[in-house]
Symmetry: C2
Subunit: 204 residues, 2 copies
Amino acid sequence: MDESTPRQRRSERTRQSILQVALELVIEKGLNKLSLREIARRADYSPAGLYEYFGGKNEIVEALVCDASDRFFAHLNRIPKTLPVEDYLVELGMAYIEFAHLNPDHFMLMFTHYQALPVVSLDDFVPEGDSNAYGLLMDAVQRAIDAGLFPVRPDYGKVGMTYSLWSLVHGLAILQATYLRQFKWDFPTSDRHAIRTFIDGLSQ
Amino acid sequence: MDESTPRQRRSERTRQSILQVALELVIEKGLNKLSLREIARRADYSPAGLYEYFGGKNEIVEALVCDASDRFFAHLNRIPKTLPVEDYLVELGMAYIEFAHLNPDHFMLMFTHYQALPVVSLDDFVPEGDSNAYGLLMDAVQRAIDAGLFPVRPDYGKVGMTYSLWSLVHGLAILQATYLRQFKWDFPTSDRHAIRTFIDGLSQ
DNA sequence: TGTACATCAGTGAACGCGCGTTCACTGATGTAC
DNA sequence: TGTACATCAGTGAACGCGCGTTCACTGATGTAC
């Protein structure tokens, strides 16, 4: 089934190792200071050599972001959807924060390199829950509404609730990854309380 | 009582106009791409000329961040502390988000240029509410607790609640300033609901 | 298995660029008498 | 009010730096017969 030639496999491995080095550099010095020449230096290539594997610096960055997104989604998708929906929401949020905690570099990479979503109403924004974190969250909120757990008010419905939950969790994650990076604190406990509290609020 | 000489006043005005230009450039191209030479170009100075007013590029950036922080705090501090504490908390949060909305550049500037707080427990972190946004928030939470509005649980007390509220509001603000920048949506209404919901949750 | 050739992975040097900072300088502004 | 001098604001050219990308090249690897 594997129709790749030895050459292709070797090439793919090299590609990955270059990305690995690039990621290390992002972790160490931040995305802003990432340079193709430094990647080459670390990976024992000449700068020109990298053009065998990537079209240029930008392509390397794109590959990193893409990789980070995949890992992120995989991390969230581990939460079993069979959980009671309220528990599912809590665990989903905790996984979101945990990812940021375990991979602050990956997380900040995605965040720094975000591209603003197109000009549409949040209502119309349905990114096909398949490979999108926002989709996971929105589906869960929908289930909670259907189950009668979250009473819908005229100006605060599915989208508003989803957006609020996302904000809370994102805020928790990002403060820990930035301002509070060095703080000693039992964050998981506070985080869990915070999410529960919010869900309690949504349930009235 | 203004003892400054005309020269000093002129100098101060020039300083401010340079900062103004720098801010415009940050807005246009982001902090990463800010360059001293470009500031000079815009402000009709030679690059060397700026060294009359600032010790170097870094000093300009510091001044920008400092300025942004002052404006931010002033914006939050307008909320009258005489409001019922729950209303105060809502309005404080809304002001936080509003600032980010009105001055996304200032806001992201502060955020991008954050410096991680020192390695202490959140408990010990008391930045003297005087000129610090975190202080305003924590004082309000303290009042809510004192008034018996927020029941304190053993592992979720003043600090945890403050941190959670900060996260929620920060998350709302930052998502609007980044991913959702282009979205059409009635954010203020959702934001208000979100904050109310969370406060309801804290009040049980 | 050996040979001739094509493809491939990788190099080294050079390109032009914009950057932050320095320094000797100059003309304008202010000050003292 | 006029003059001599000191201070100041600002310049222009140069410094060395690291960057992304290009290009002609070469030795190694693979392929066909």
